[in-house]
Each structure stands twice: as structure tokens, then as C-alpha cells.
């Protein structure tokens, strides 16, 4: 497998308070909506695609397809890896400004690390920037 080393850290400062921020989730935990194509777990190289998850999705809309960690807890309560319900609570309390209309799930396992880094990740960033219009992103793994 390719090893990628980062020499510098791509740091973006936050220019406003959390109460004015729309927040999006990006999870490598294999989360997607039930009516979307599952991630391809048959391909040992992994799956470089991602799924867009609606900000109003509820537990019964979501599922996990990922064969490289035990997601039985997420199957019972998706918030253990994809805390969309909790984001909504924090928004209703005014702790954050709002919940983004679109979030992202992908399967964070790949033997094609360079393609994941150079193609999938920038495509997710464009999605967040142009479509979700989120001010900040919370990243989770499995």
C-alpha cells in the first residue's frame, strides 16, 4: 500500500463563533442512506466513492456498509459514529448555528490511498464547500 506523508498541516482558522456556524459531518465509517448504493465491500482495493446524506436523515434512513470494523454498535445507534441527531440538538440549543443540508459518508478503507487522497478527498471538499455550504466539518472514522 502507498504510504503518504504530509509535510505541512493544512490548517484553516475559524473566523466566527460556533453559534454562527453551519456544521457538516464527514464520516469514513461507511454510513449511507438505505436507498443508496452500498459501498463495494467485494473489491479488496476498497471503494473510492462517497454518498451524500441529507441533513434531515433519521436513524431509520441510514445504514453502514463497511467490512473493516465492527459496526454492530452503529447499527443500534448511528450516533456512535455519525452524530446527526446530536448536531440537531446542538443547533436547537443554539450551541451551533445550524446543521448542513448535506453530509458525506464514505468507506474509510482503501488500498488506493493516493487516489483517495488526491481525488476522493478533494471531491468531498468541493461538495462541502459548494453544496453543503458548511462553515465547519466534523470528521469521524469508524
Amino acid at each position: 500500500m502507498t504510504t503518504i506523508h504530509r509535510k505541512c498541516v493544512p490548517f484553516t482558522p475559524l473566523d466566527r463563533g460556533l453559534a454562527k456556524c453551519t456544521v457538516a459531518l464527514v464520516s469514513a465509517g461507511g454510513v449511507h442512506e438505505k436507498d443508496q448504493e452500498p459501498f463495494n465491500i467485494a473489491d479488496e482495493l476498497g471503494d473510492l466513492t462517497f454518498r451524500i446524506i441529507g441533513g434531515d436523515a433519521v436513524f431509520s434512513d441510514l445504514m453502514v456498509t463497511h467490512h473493516h470494523y465492527d459496526h454492530s454498535d452503529a447499527d443500534r445507534d448511528i450516533n456512535v459514529i455519525f452524530p446527526l441527531d446530536i448536531l440537531r440538538e446542538l443547533a436547537s440549543e443554539g450551541f451551533i448555528g445550524g446543521v448542513a443540508k448535506e453530509h458525506v459518508g464514505y468507506m474509510g478503507y482503501t488500498m488506493q490511498l493516493r487516489q483517495m487522497y488526491e481525488q476522493t478527498a478533494p471531491a468531498i471538499a468541493v461538495q462541502i464547500d459548494k453544496k453543503s455550504k458548511a462553515d465547519v466539518v466534523v470528521l469521524t472514522g469508524g
Partner: protein, 75 residues
């Protein structure tokens, strides 16, 4: 694109450290698949998420993974 502030919640700190994330929190002792806690532990899940979000507003340590203790996870 000017860049998007991010914060990572990781339960695999050794793997995450290699990518030198700009901001990252490791809830100490949480197992893979339990990034925010166990099923139904809503208060704990919320605390972890709030702590992660607050990291966006605090002086940062880019590339470092900040370890936090949540004793209620083990209870």
C-alpha cells in the same frame, strides 16, 4: 476555495497521527466503532461532540491529537 475548518474525532490515534490532522480529539480508550461512545449514551456522545466543536475555537495544535478522558465510557 479558502479552506474549511475541520476537527477529527479519532479512535485510532496512531493511524490518524500519520496524516497530521489540523485538529483532532481522541476520547481515550474508546474502541473502534465507538467514536462518540456506546449506543444510547446520549449525554456522553453530546459531550464528545461539543468538546470536538469547541476545539475549533481554541488555540490549536495543528498536527497533534488531543487526548481526553471520559470515565463514563468505561462505567
Amino acid at each position: 476555495m479558502r479552506g474549511i475548518p475541520t476537527v477529527l474525532i479519532t479512535v485510532g490515534p496512531e493511524a490518524s497521527r500519520q496524516m497530521r490532522p489540523p485538529r483532532a480529539i481522541y476520547p481515550k480508550g474508546f474502541k473502534i466503532g465507538n467514536s462518540l461512545g456506546r449506543p444510547g449514551m446520549r449525554d456522553l456522545q453530546k459531550k464528545v461532540l461539543r468538546d470536538a466543536l469547541v476545539m475549533l475555537t481554541e488555540p490549536a495544535h495543528p498536527g497533534e491529537i488531543i487526548e481526553r478522558e471520559y470515565p463514563e465510557y468505561a462505567a
